[in-house]
């Protein structure tokens, strides 16, 4: 009877662990994470107000959300849109067009995408007919025909806004902002970008049509809040099916937050980069080690994850290679020049050494000036870590690198 009970409990453990993994992986890896937003309540309210004005009152608007990579711009916007759609007055009243600077690399493609997403009449299936000028004229006409009270408001979301700025003449941006300023179909343009100097990149006529409304996301939380975020990201919610396990898990997380080593790890990461994306990565690494045998995260898990995450990549590569920086005169094994050349070319291939100018036909390969893309410290560290390094190489490196 005992065996059966054990089997059952391990069975539920396996199920349970896999559910925990699934839930946490979705929370940590998925871009559309619908978890809580931390530290950006003010910006959330601002954006929500803005969009409510468009959908409910029919006002046209434009705004830019600016913040470094991983600070939560897309997450904020998605959250606001989700909450907006659930509001009574807004239901099914808003047309959305999502554009991304990485996908729509020029205005022609962008225009086709807009037409496709709005399901305008010149779309059949997926194909959009007509030339660029025709499509543009058609779109503008469609948008201009409406008026505030009776037409559906349209929301344009431009991700990687700084890439749209590099299109020819900034035609798309000009037209979008132009429409948002004229009193026809209510149109809101929201741009998301990581560049702080985005306004200087806009042309004068585009800049004047932009409302200059900017929402900044600056990762501005203190370390205490960071630890709280850590705890919240890892905790299982109350709706989790296996309540006993959830409780065990959550109390373990609480213990971890009070552990000194864990706090040190988080402090290190916090100093390196404050954004939540890096934190999510670290947690994801730790969570991926959770198995039936090892059902709770420990401090050593986090330490391993932190070491893995912060490895110095160049040091790894140099570690394997400083053998070949030796000169013939300095070592016991005399290698012929061509053998050393082959090793040198391997260094070139690894891009540890780079020629200062592009090699041309005129100059010989051996006499091309190169520069070393490594730091003295990296070379010294690699030498220390390298096993079986001949002593004369070490001495030579120590004598010539130490006074630099």
């Amino acid at each position: 009877m005992n065996k059966r009970k054990l089997k059952e409990s391990s069975g539920t453990d396996g199920e349970c662990i896999s559910q925990v993994q699934k839930m946490l992986r979705e929370r940590l890896c998925h871009h559309r994470a619908m978890g809580k937003l931390f530290g950006i309540d003010q910006q959330y309210k601002h954006l929500l107000e803005l969009l409510k004005q468009t959908t409910v009152c029919g006002e046209s608007n434009s705004a830019l959300i600016i913040g470094p990579r991983g600070s939560g711009k897309t997450a904020l916007l998605n959250r606001v849109l989700k909450d907006l759609r659930e509001m009574k007055q807004v239901k099914e009243n808003l047309l959305e067009v999502h554009l991304n600077g990485l996908l729509q690399t020029n205005d022609k493609v962008a225009l086709k995408e807009i037409t496709r997403q709005l399901h305008l009449e010149n779309v059949v299936g997926d194909k959009v007919f007509g030339s660029f000028a025709e499509n543009l004229a058609f779109l503008l006409e469609a948008l201009r025909k409406g008026n505030r009270t009776s037409s559906c408001p349209v929301l344009f979301v431009l991700d990687e806004f700084d890439l749209f700025v590099h299109h020819k003449n900034q035609t798309l941006l000009y037209n979008l902002f132009d429409i948002s300023q004229s009193a026809q179909t209510p149109v809101t343009v929201i741009g998301l970008t990581c560049r702080q100097d985005i306004l200087e990149l806009l042309e004068k006529r585009v800049k004047s049509r932009f409302s200059h409304r900017r929402i900044y996301l600056m990762n501005s939380f203190a370390f205490k809040q960071y630890i709280r975020i850590f705890k919240e990201q890892l905790s299982l919610p109350a709706e989790f099916p296996d309540k006993a396990f959830a409780q065990k898990w959550n109390s373990n997380i609480q213990l971890l937050t009070e552990d000194k080593t864990v706090q040190d790890i988080l402090q290190n990461l916090f100093h390196y980069s404050k954004d939540l994306r890096s934190l999510n990565f670290l947690l994801m690494l730790a969570v991926s080690n959770v198995t039936v045998r090892h059902p709770l995260i420990t401090a050593s898990d986090l330490q391993e994850a932190s070491k893995q995450y912060r490895m110095d990549s160049k040091a790894n590569i140099v570690h394997e290679f400083q053998k070949f920086i030796q000169r013939k005169a300095h070592c016991m094994y005399n290698f012929e020049k061509p053998v050393v050349m082959k090793a040198f070319e391997h260094l070139l291939q690894l891009e540890l050494v780079k020629p200062i100018e592009r090699p041309s036909v005129r100059s010989q390969r051996e006499y091309l000036l190169m520069e070393l893309l490594l730091d003295n410290n990296q070379i010294m560290d690699a030498l220390q870590a390298y096993p079986n390094c001949p002593t004369d190489v070490k001495q030579w490196a120590a004598s010539s690198l130490s006074w630099l």
Binding site: T74, L103, C194, F281, T291, S313, N316, I317, V339, K342
Partner: protein
């Protein structure tokens, strides 16, 4: 005690996987734990880097095939434009589900179309939300394509809103990839080099069935002893091991030694391996030539490598022209008076010369010189009078065609062409010896 364990995959498959990837167990178990179960989400992009032949492509392919995870494998050197790359991915996705031969290629120009077609292709397969892996080998070529390709691939999970993970394999570190305005950072995994013990273990696995495993691993030991200092590339070592094994077995085949006579076998093979380092390793001669050479009994004759063919026989005056050109390239102009005039006064060492004595001209490379200087030096080193006929000038041009000299600057320079000598010291010494000219005496660096 099996090292690889995972609840989602049957232990038999994992055991099989473990036998296929020796010495890479820790990397594979990390990958397994990151991948998780089939339907679970994972990092949107993973970047794996390590030296050549550290097993990145092999381990990835073996892992995905053994566990039968839905994947697409593309080499970015093969598909070197974005269009080829995107179409290849789509074709492989279509072929994944259907058993019929290659479906007609779907034209896909831009990444925008790719995202749409990718979503369609995923729907048509019966994947039930399993993670699809897109593996891009030699990912450093992505940097040469349009600027949006690399950041877009890193975000593919977000852009398509599907369960897909992109894996990039490369030799170059991530810092060289990062675009200027940043991008979605992938998870970075390092594949360290194989240590000498690992190499021994892996190479000994390929032993031919006629000989015992111990015999072969002794051979590998010797081979690694000679080549490990210079080369750790597993593929090169496998190539060398295959080429030289028959020579190693010769004494045993001829019944001169037994399998255990390691001393004798070592004495037989060692000079052979040293020769191999200078020829086959450097690809001076091809492997078929090498094998033919081994079949010859007796002394290893003069092996004519590729560099040996670079020797040319020049006419008498051309040799002197070449020597004069070499002297003009590697001697500073001030020292001409000292070397080539019968009565030169004292040369004062100016401050400039004292400061720059340390950098030998031979390290910096040849310097350009005008035609007049070349002719002046030529007349001084050739004993009998040389008439400045057109013959001499045409010989200069043929030296340029042979790429022993190179022209510097524009073709239509008004005050005479400038040249540069592009031969090495060993070459010019060999030539000087044939005309009994001691060139070392005339070189400033060897004073």
């Amino acid at each position: 005690m099996p090292i690889l364990e995972h609840p989602a995959y049957p232990p038999a498959t994992l055991l099989c996987l473990e036998s296929l990837v020796p010495c890479r167990e820790s990397q594979v178990s990390m990958l397994l734990s990151i991948f998780g179960e089939r339907q679970q989400l994972s990092f949107p992009s993973i970047f794996i880097y390590g030296h050549t032949s550290s097993g990145k492509t092999y381990v990835m392919k073996t892992l995905l095939n053994t566990l039968q995870l839905p994947h697409v494998f593309v080499n970015c050197v093969e598909c070197f434009t974005s269009r080829l790359l995107l179409e290849e991915i789509l074709i492989q996705l279509q072929n994944h589900s259907s058993e019929t031969r290659r479906a007609s290629p779907v034209p896909c120009d831009t990444f925008n179309d790719f995202v749409r077609l990718f979503k369609q292709a995923l729907v048509s397969q019966n994947l039930q939300d399993q993670t699809v892996y897109v593996v891009l080998d030699r990912a450093e070529q992505l940097r040469e394509m349009e600027a949006n390709i690399l950041p877009a691939f890193l975000r593919l999970q977000e852009l398509t809103d599907r369960n897909v993970t992109v894996i990039l394999l490369s030799e170059i570190v991530w810092e060289m990839f990062r675009p200027n305005t940043g991008c979605f950072e992938p998870f970075i995994l390092y594949f360290p080099d194989y240590s000498i013990g690992h190499l021994q273990k892996i190479l000994s696995q390929n032993h031919p069935p006629e000989y015992s495993a111990d015999f072969y691993s002794a051979y590998i030991n010797i081979l690694l002893g000679v080549f490990y200092m210079v080369c750790r590339d597993l593929k090169e070592l496998q190539h060398l091991a295959a080429l030289n094994f028959s020579k190693y077995c010769e004494p045993v085949v001829r019944k001169e030694a037994k399998e255990r006579d390691t001393r004798k076998l070592w004495k037989n093979i060692e000079p052979h391996l040293k020769k191999a380092m200078q020829t086959v390793y450097l690809r001076e001669i091809s492997s078929s030539q090498w094998e033919r050479l081994q079949c010859e009994e007796g002394e290893l004759g003069q092996i004519k490598g590729l560099s040996a063919h670079a020797h040319v026989e020049l006419p008498y005056y051309s040799k002197f022209l070449l020597i004069a050109a070499y002297l003009a390239s590697y001697n500073p102009v001030r020292t001409d008076k000292r070397f080539f005039l019968k009565h030169h006064g004292k040369i004062k060492k100016t401050n400039f010369m004292k400061k720059h004595e340390k950098t030998s001209n031979h390290l910096l490379g040849p310097k350009p010189f005008p035609l007049d200087r070349l002719l002046a030096i030529l007349y001084s080193i050739v004993d009998n009078r040389v008439a400045p006929t057109a013959n001499i000038f045409s010989q200069i041009t043929s030296l340029v065609t042979l790429q022993l000299l190179s022209v510097v600057g524009n073709n239509d320079q008004l005050d005479g062409p400038r040249y540069k000598c592009t031969v090495s010291l060993d070459f010019i010494r060999a030539i000087a010896r044939t005309v009994n000219f001691d060139i070392i005496k005339y070189l400033y660096d060897f004073l």
